[in-house]
């Protein structure tokens, strides 16, 4: 019995590393194989994946559907922009050190208000909060730049070790920033994986599955939901912090409800009932959006139609469909 029990954790860890290693290798080698524009697109994809990963802690693991995650992304982005406007340009580490506590505090504050309520009202509250933040960003234009937004120059990386200026600096910046974001992405994925497989993560899933029972094994429901919200918002906020130096500019669009919808969509696209779904969804969505926006003006309509179709036809998302197909293949080969 001891042998079998010792194998349990190691097996899942090994599987994870074995599955992730080749993908990581590909991601590391990619910039030398593809052009700068493609690398830039991939950075956006990784950022979307981080945002979706954070979002899905709340949806997939805690069972709470937030329609207002754009607020945390946007607050992350704007905190960097404010830092640039008032404290001058700094290194990326400075922005992260400043921005992460800001998004954490706002997630904690808004989360505290939202998790007091049931699913429906929870969703509406999250939407309402993000709309309030959006309207504040528009109204206080002398601080936020209004609909024009605020500009953010290329930051120095690694505490100023790497700085990028001049025309040739762009290519170098993109390549360096890619590895920087990739590094944070890997840290984020590992961190989220541990959280989800920790006792805390199991407790979240229990609360998601059966709130009454969870209460009757002594779990304080509201507290767990609140902490989940905090972590979730912070992750998405980090994505926002990483996004704005790449984009060079932040506008209130990134606080608007449609952006929240995009985040929801990425989780659904990849599949919100498993760990890697949001990651896949974030990256795939970034590519889809780039090509869709280029081909049609009514890209929101397209998004809506695809969303409805997805929910009707492929509710478990890409990753869910793949694993189901794999199961079916395994069963077929077992029979023959």
């Amino acid at each position: 019995m001891t042998r079998e029990t010792r194998q349990l954790p190691n097996r899942s860890l090994l599987k994870l590393v074995a599955g992730a290693a080749p993908i990581l290798l590909v991601l590391i080698l990619l910039p030398s194989l593809i052009g700068t524009y493609q690398v830039q697109l991939l950075i956006y994809g990784l950022i979307a994946a981080i945002a979706a990963l954070g979002f899905n802690l709340l949806l997939g693991y805690t069972g709470l559907l937030s329609f207002g995650h754009s607020a945390y992304f946007g607050i992350g982005a704007y905190s960097v922009a404010f830092a640039v406007a008032h404290l001058g340009p700094h290194s990326m580490e400075f922005y992260l050190l400043l921005g992460i506590p800001i998004v954490a505090v706002t997630s904690a504050l808004f989360g505290y208000i939202c998790v007091r309520h049931t699913r429906i009202f929870f969703g509406i509250l999250t939407l309402a909060i993000s709309q309030v933040v959006y309207s504040l960003a528009l109204s206080f234009y002398w601080v936020t730049g209004g609909s024009d937004g605020l500009r953010v120059p290329r930051p120095a990386l690694l505490l100023g070790l790497l700085s990028f200026s001049g025309s040739h600096g762009f290519q170098f910046f993109i390549k360096s920033y890619y590895y920087y974001v990739l590094g944070i992405f890997v840290i984020g994925v590992v961190l989220m994986w541990v959280i989800v497989h920790s006792p805390f993560g199991k407790a979240l899933q229990a609360i998601r599955d059966n709130e009454v029972r969870a209460r009757f094994i002594g779990l304080r429901i509201r507290r767990f939901r609140w902490i989940s919200f905090l972590v979730s918002g912070t992750f998405t906020g980090v994505a926002g912090i990483l996004w704005v130096p790449l984009n060079g500019l932040t506008t209130p669009d990134v606080l608007y409800w449609t952006f929240s919808g995009e985040i929801v969509f990425t989780a659904l696209l990849g599949g919100f009932r498993n760990f890697t779904g949001p990651i896949v969804g974030g990256i795939v969505f970034t590519y889809l959006k780039t090509y869709a926006v280029a081909s049609t003006e009514y890209w929101q309509l397209l998004l809506g139609v695809v969303l409805v179709t997805l929910v009707l036809v492929l509710p478990t998302g890409i990753v869910g469909a793949i694993s189901r197909a794999r199961q079916r293949l395994a069963r077929r080969s077992a029979v023959t």
């Binding site: 019995m1 199991k202 229990a206 599955d209 209460r215 009757f216 094994i217 002594g218 304080r220």
Partner: protein, 251 residues
């Protein structure tokens, strides 16, 4: 030695008096069956003791400590755990995780986010032990939603038991299973509970089960206690026999 008692406990739903001034006593270490027709108030009483409901008036005392206004979490900490009539499990989690979670919660370890759940040896060993006692070790990796009804009932009890309660409240642990399985379930539950010296209150409808396993039988009828005694005493009680056989109660 009295473990828990209620003083003039009342609960009313509209016109229905589910608990009509109950003075209930639970002795330490006993295996007590709570019986009575549907609507007699048994589940309400269990709900009140487990903090699922708040009483309209009256008191609940755990070893002379007034716990009437404590929360569910506080009551679990004080040592009261329960299972449910309609099986209440974490269907998306494995059988192992269902029980492990109870252990983590009991030990206050559910705040840990940076350790893997599977790496906690103490919890793992204890979970496997509990699963073994309830005969579920073989199904440890199965999702709880995939178990047969009888196994689900056992798991429900196992999860409550894993909380190391002093008082275990079981709401119809054998409902919905075949007669053969009933005996199996009750054998397991009874031996584990007695072996762990846990006091148990079991709501049960099957009188064979009740007479076979209980130290004491308490019968409720329309919110009040009708009879209270050992199986032999109850068997000899004519009034009770009338109720059980469905004959009208003579005034």
């Amino acid at each position: 030695m009295i473990l828990l008692r209620t003083v003039d406990l009342r609960k009313q739903f509209g016109q229905t008096r589910a608990c009509n001034g109950l003075d209930f006593i639970i002795n330490k270490g006993e295996f007590l069956s709570l019986v009575g027709s549907n609507g007699a108030g048994k589940t309400t009483l269990v709900n009140l003791i487990s903090a699922h409901l708040q009483p309209d008036s009256g008191q609940i005392l755990l070893e002379d400590r007034d716990i009437t206004f404590t929360t569910v979490a506080e009551r679990i900490k004080a040592g009261i755990a329960r299972s449910f009539q309609i099986v209440n499990l974490f269907d998306g989690l494995s059988v192992f995780d269902n029980v492990a979670l109870a252990v983590f919660s009991r030990d206050g370890k559910t705040v840990k986010m940076t350790r893997l759940a599977d790496h906690d040896r103490d919890v793992r060993l204890e979970t496997l032990e509990v699963l073994g006692q309830f005969g579920l070790a073989g199904k440890a990796a199965t999702p709880a939603g995939g178990l047969a009804q009888g196994e689900r009932k056992l798991l429900d009890v196992a999860v409550a038991y894993a909380l190391h309660p002093r008082l275990l409240l079981l709401d119809e642990p054998t409902s919905g299973v075949s007669t053969h399985e009933k005996a199996q379930i009750m054998d397991t539950v009874s031996s584990v509970v007695r072996g762990g010296m846990v006091t148990a209150v079991v709501i049960e409808h099957d009188m064979d089960v009740v007479f076979r396993y209980s130290d004491r039988i308490v019968m409720m009828h329309e919110g009040s206690f009708l009879a209270d005694g050992t199986p032999e005493e109850i068997r000899a009680n004519q009034e009770v026999a009338n109720i059980l056989l469905g004959a009208p109660l003579t005034a």
